[in-house]
Amino acid sequence: MSEELLNLTLHVWRQDGPNDPGRFETHQANGISTHMSFLEMLDVVNEDLIEKGKSPIAFDHDCREGICGSCGMVINGVAHGPQKLTTCCQLHMRQFKSGDEIWLEPWRASGFPVVKDLIVDRSALDRIIQAGGYISIRTGSASEANEMPIAKAIADHAMDAAECIGCGACVAACPNASASLFTAAKISHLSLLPQGQAERQDRARKMVAQMDAEGFGGCTNHGECEAACPKGVSLQWIARMNRELVRAVVSSDSGV
C-alpha cells in the first residue's frame, strides 16, 4: 500500500488527423502516484495541458476495468504495456520507476488508420464480424435451452475463445499486422458449438475473406499476438481457423 511519487518523461505520438503527419511530443509527468492507473496518469497530464491552454492527448478508453476493449496503445514498444494479461487501463504506475522515459504510440497497422493521436479506427474488426461472425437465429425462434446438452469441456473451450475483447492488441503486436487471432477466436468459438454448425463453413470462408480484404497481413506463427493479448487468447485458435478454412474450401459451396 505504500505510495511513491514518480517523475516521468513521456514521449507521446501526436497526430491531428488520418492524413496529417505525426510526431512525438515530450511531456513531463511529475508527482505521479504509484497507485494511479496508467490512464489516470494520462488524465492528470491532460488536465494539466488543458489548464495550460494546450491540446490534451486523445486516447480511447471507457470501462477502465479491462473488458470493453476500448483502450489500447503501444507503451515502450509493447501493446498495452509491460504487464502480462493486462489492458493499459488496468496497468498501474507501480510498474514504473521514477526517471523512466515512456514512449506512447497508437496501434500501428494499415487496417487501423490513425484517427487522432493514440486513437485508431478499428471498424475493420466490426466488418469481419459482420461478414459472418454470428449464428443466424431470429429473436423468438429459439428452442428450449436445455434441449441440446453441450459437453462441459466443449462449452468451456468455446468460452476460452469467446474471451476476446476486440481491442486489437494482437494486430498491433504482429509483425505482419495480422488480425488472425481476432478472427480465429470468433470462428473457433462458434464452430465448436453445435448451434454454430449450420453456417460453419460459410462463416470461416467469409470472415477470412473479409480479414484479407481489410488489408491485414497473414499469420506466420510469430506468436506475438498471444503474448500481447490481455485475455490470454491462445494461438491454437489460429490453427483451428486454418483447419476450418481448409475444410470449407475443399467442400462444395453448399457445404454438404
Binding site: 505510495e3 488543458i50 476495468e65 473488458i67 484517427v115 429473436t139 429459439a142 441440446m148 448451434q195
Partner: protein, 643 residues
C-alpha cells in the same frame, strides 16, 4: 402531463398475452417503410436494433463508442436471472416476480415486473441459440448458481463475464442485420438533442465524434437505451463515457423523469486511492460469503498494519450488529454501515482528501479453515484483479473495500409499452425506471435489458406504428429540425467559449460528484439535501463561466464531449436531490436518516406508494411532480428486517 401506465387488467399471468393479442401489427411488407432510431447499443439497444432489423424495419443505431460491442453492459460480471427452475428447487415465474417486487421495496409496477419474470425464460433460450457459452454441468446441461441471497439457484453465468458474452450475442445479431442492410450503425456518434414535431419524437440531433459534424436524423420514432446516470457521482463503477445526456435532453423536451433518487450502491468495491481516481472497480459480492468485514475498534489503530491489530481490537461490525445475517446483510445495509464506521473515524487505507474511506474484508479465517487452495479456487481471479489494482495480495493481508455507485433504478418514466410521456419516444434498459423499484436485485440488470430489447420493444413499437399508421414527412429544413440543430450548435459554442475559461470539465465534475455522494448518496437527510440544492446551482453557474475546452468543435474533441455531459449531470443531480428531499421515507437504495427505526429503513406505504415522475418546467430548480400511484394485488407489502 398525464401519466397513464396503460397496463392491461385481469389475472397478472395473462396480461402480457392479452396485451399482445389486442395490439396493432405492422405487416411484413410495410415494415421497411418505417424508420426507427435506436440510441445505445448495449443489451437493450443492441437487442432492440437487431430484433427490429430482423423484422424488416428500417433501423439506425447510434453509440458513442467506436464499436457497438463496447457498451457498458459488457462489464456485468455476475450473471442473469431466469425462472427456468432447472435446479428443481421450487423456482417459478411467480417467485421471480415476487422476489423482484419485494427486492424493489414495493416501488415498482407489478404488471411490468411479472412480464419481466415471464420473459426471463425466453432470454436464456435466445442467448443459448446465439452461441453464448454459459457455464454447464458435466452432463452438458446449463449450470446455475444462487446469487445475491436468493433462495433458489436461478442465475445463469459465463465465468465472470456474463455481461460480455450476452452483449457479444446481441452485437453479433446486430452485426448480421448491419450486413443485411436493415440496420445502419453509427458508432462514435453522440445524441445531443431530440427532435419533437407535432408532439411526437421524430428524430435526433447528433455530433459525429471524429469530425464534429452536427446533423439531424429524422425517423418515425426514437428509442433511447442509453443506460444509467451513475456517473453523476463522478466516481462510480460505470464506464467513463456513461452519461445521461440523451435521457436528459428527452426530459427537457417533456419526457417525465421517474424516481431519480433511487440509486444503488454496491458495498464491495476497491476504495479510492487518490484524488486523481477516475473510476471505481467492483469486486463480486460473492466475496462476502467467506470474507469477514471489520475495522479497528480504536482510532489510533487505523494506520497500523492490519496484521498487527489483535483480535480483541477488531470491530466486526456487521457480525455484531446483525448476528443473524452477519457479513451477508443486503447491499444497502452493508454499504450504510461502512459509511457509519468510517464517519466515526475508523476507516482504513489511504487518506484521500483528509478521510480514510475503507474497511477490511478479511479472508484470514477462511484461509485457515478451508486452506489457501480452496480460497484460490473460489476467488482466484478476483484476488488477482484486486492485487493488480491495489498492489496487495489478499492472501497475505485483508482486502480493503468501500461502497460505490453501481446502478441507477430511476430513469425515464415509461408506461407498460416502454413509451415515455412523449409519444413516439420509447426507452429500454437501465435508461428507464420500469422494473426495479427502489432497489435492484443482483443478476436482474442483464435480464431487464434483454427483455426490453428482444421481447418488449420490438412488439410495443409495432403497436405504436400500427396505431399512427402514417406520419407526415418531416424535411431536414423544417423549422423544428433546424431549430434543434441550431440549439445544439449554440450549446457547443457556449461550452467552447466560456467567458472566463479556467478548468477542465473534470474539475467541476469531481466537485459535483462530491456534493451528490456526500449529501445524496448512501444516507441522506433534509439538511444535507437542502445544502446540496444551494451548492449545485452555484457550481453550475461557475461551470458555465469557467469551463475550459481546448481545440475546436469541428474535430475529435474529448474535452468537449465531457463538458456537454457534465453540464447535464448538473441538472440531473439537482433533480436527484429534489426527489430525495420530497420522498420522506426510507426505501431500497434511498435512505433518509429521519425515517429509521433502530438503524433500519422505515418505509411509508401510506404516504409514498407512488412513482415520482418529474416534469421539466424550464427551471432546473423547480420541476413539477406527478405521481403514479402503485397498487399491489399480488405481493403484499411487508417490512424488511435483517436483525
Amino acid at each position: 402531463m398525464q401519466l397513464r401506465s396503460n397496463e392491461p387488467t385481469g389475472p397478472i399471468e395473462h396480461r402480457w398475452d392479452k396485451h399482445k393479442e389486442s395490439s396493432k401489427l405492422v405487416a411484413p411488407a410495410n415494415r421497411r417503410n418505417y424508420s426507427i432510431i435506436v440510441v445505445g447499443s448495449g443489451l437493450a439497444g443492441g437487442a432492440a436494433a437487431a430484433s427490429l432489423g430482423e423484422m424488416g424495419y428500417n433501423v439506425k443505431c447510434f453509440c458513442y463508442q467506436d464499436s457497438p460491442r463496447r457498451a457498458h453492459s459488457i462489464a456485468a460480471q455476475g450473471g442473469i436471472n431466469a425462472a427456468k427452475n432447472y435446479q428443481n428447487d421450487g423456482d417459478s415465474i411467480f417467485r421471480l416476480f415476487y422476489d423482484t417486487v419485494k427486492g424493489g421495496d414495493f416501488r415498482s409496477r407489478e404488471s411490468n415486473v411479472y412480464r419481466l419474470a415471464q420473459l426471463s425464460v425466453s432470454i436464456i433460450d435466445q442467448a443459448v441459440a446465439q452461441g453464448v457459452p454459459f457455464a454447464r454441468e458435466y452432463g452438458g446441461l446449463l449450470a446455475n448458481r444462487s446469487f445475491g441471497g436468493a433462495q433458489v439457484s436461478r442465475t445463469f453465468y459465463a465465468r465472470g463475464q456474463t455481461g460480455q458474452q450476452l452483449l457479444l450475442g446481441a452485437y453479433q445479431a446486430l452485426s448480421r442485420q448491419i450486413e443485411e442492410g436493415t440496420v445502419e450503425m453509427m458508432p462514435r456518434t453522440e445524441m445531443l438533442d431530440l427532435i419533437v414535431h407535432d408532439g411526437r419524437a421524430r428524430g435526433i440531433v447528433t455530433r459525429c465524434m471524429t469530425t464534429g459534424k452536427v446533423s439531424p436524423h429524422i425517423a418515425d420514432m426514437v428509442v433511447l437505451c442509453t443506460g444509467g446516470y451513475g456517473n453523476v457521482f463522478y466516481l462510480s463503477t460505470n464506464a467513463k463515457g456513461c452519461n445521461c445526456m440523451a435521457a436528459w435532453r428527452a426530459h427537457r423536451h417533456g419526457a417525465a423523469f421517474a424516481n431519480p433518487c433511487f440509486t444503488q450502491i454496491h458495498p464491495t468495491c476497491i476504495p479510492q486511492s487518490g484524488s486523481y481516481q477516475s473510476k471505481l472497480t467492483l469486486m463480486s459480492e460473492s466475496l462476502r460469503n467467506d470474507g469477514r468485514v471489520w475495522v479497528p475498534r480504536n482510532k489510533e489503530d487505523v494506520t497500523k498494519r492490519p496484521e498487527d491489530i489483535p483480535e480483541k481490537d477488531r470491530y466486526y461490525y456487521l457480525e455484531e450488529r446483525y448476528p443473524a445475517f452477519g457479513n451477508l446483510v443486503p447491499r444497502d445495509v452493508a454499504s450504510r454501515n461502512a459509511l457509519y464506521v468510517t464517519n466515526e473515524g475508523l476507516g482504513v487505507g489511504l487518506e484521500v482528501d483528509g478521510e480514510r474511506r475503507g474497511v477490511y474484508l478479511d479472508f484470514g479465517d477462511a484461509i485457515n479453515r478451508l486452506g489457501e487452495q480452496t480460497i484460490r479456487e473460489r476467488y482466484g481471479n478476483l484476488f488477482e484483479m484486486y492485487e493488480r489494482i491495489a498492489g496487495e495480495s489478499p492472501y497475505e493481508t485483508p482486502m480493503r473495500i468501500y461502497p460505490a455507485t453501481h446502478y441507477t433504478m430511476g430513469g425515464l418514466w415509461v408506461d407498460y409499452n416502454l413509451q415515455t410521456t412523449i409519444p413516439g419516444l420509447f426507452s429500454g434498459g437501465e435508461a428507464n425506471f420500469s422494473d426495479h423499484g427502489a432497489n435492484r436485485l443482483g443478476a436482474s440488470a442483464l435480464m431487464q435489458g434483454l427483455a426490453d430489447g428482444y421481447f418488449v420493444l420490438p412488439f410495443t413499437i409495432g403497436n405504436y406504428l400500427g396505431e399512427v399508421r402514417t406520419l407526415p414527412a418531416l424535411a431536414e429544413d423544417h423549422p423544428n429540425v433546424t431549430k434543434a440543430v441550431g440549439a445544439v450548435e449554440e450549446r457547443i459554442h457556449r461550452l467552447m467559449n466560456a467567458p472566463e475559461p479556467k478548468h477542465a470539465p473534470e474539475y467541476f465534475h469531481r466537485k459535483l460528484g462530491r456534493i451528490i455522494w456526500t449529501k445524496c448518496g448512501m444516507s441522506r437527510n433534509k439538511e444535507g439535501l437542502e445544502e446540496a440544492l444551494r451548492e449545485i446551482p452555484k457550481l453550475r453557474e461557475q461551470f458555465w463561466r469557467e469551463v475550459k475546452v481546448m481545440g475546436s468543435g469541428s474535430e475529435l474533441n474529448q474535452t468537449l464531449e465531457r463538458a456537454g455531459r457534465v453540464a447535464d449531470f448538473f441538472e440531473l443531480g439537482e433533480l436527484m436531490c429534489i426527489d430525495a428531499l420530497e420522498r420522506e421515507e426510507s426505501c431500497g437504495g434511498h435512505f433518509r436518516e429521519e425515517h429509521e427505526e433502530n438503524g433500519e429503513a422505515l418505509r411509508d406505504d401510506e404516504g409514498f406508494t407512488y412513482v415520482s415522475a418529474w416534469e421539466w418546467t424550464g427551471n432546473p430548480g423547480d420541476p413539477r411532480l406527478h405521481k403514479e400511484p402503485l397498487t399491489f394485488e399480488y405481493v403484499k407489502p411487508s417490512k424488511r428486517s435483517y436483525k
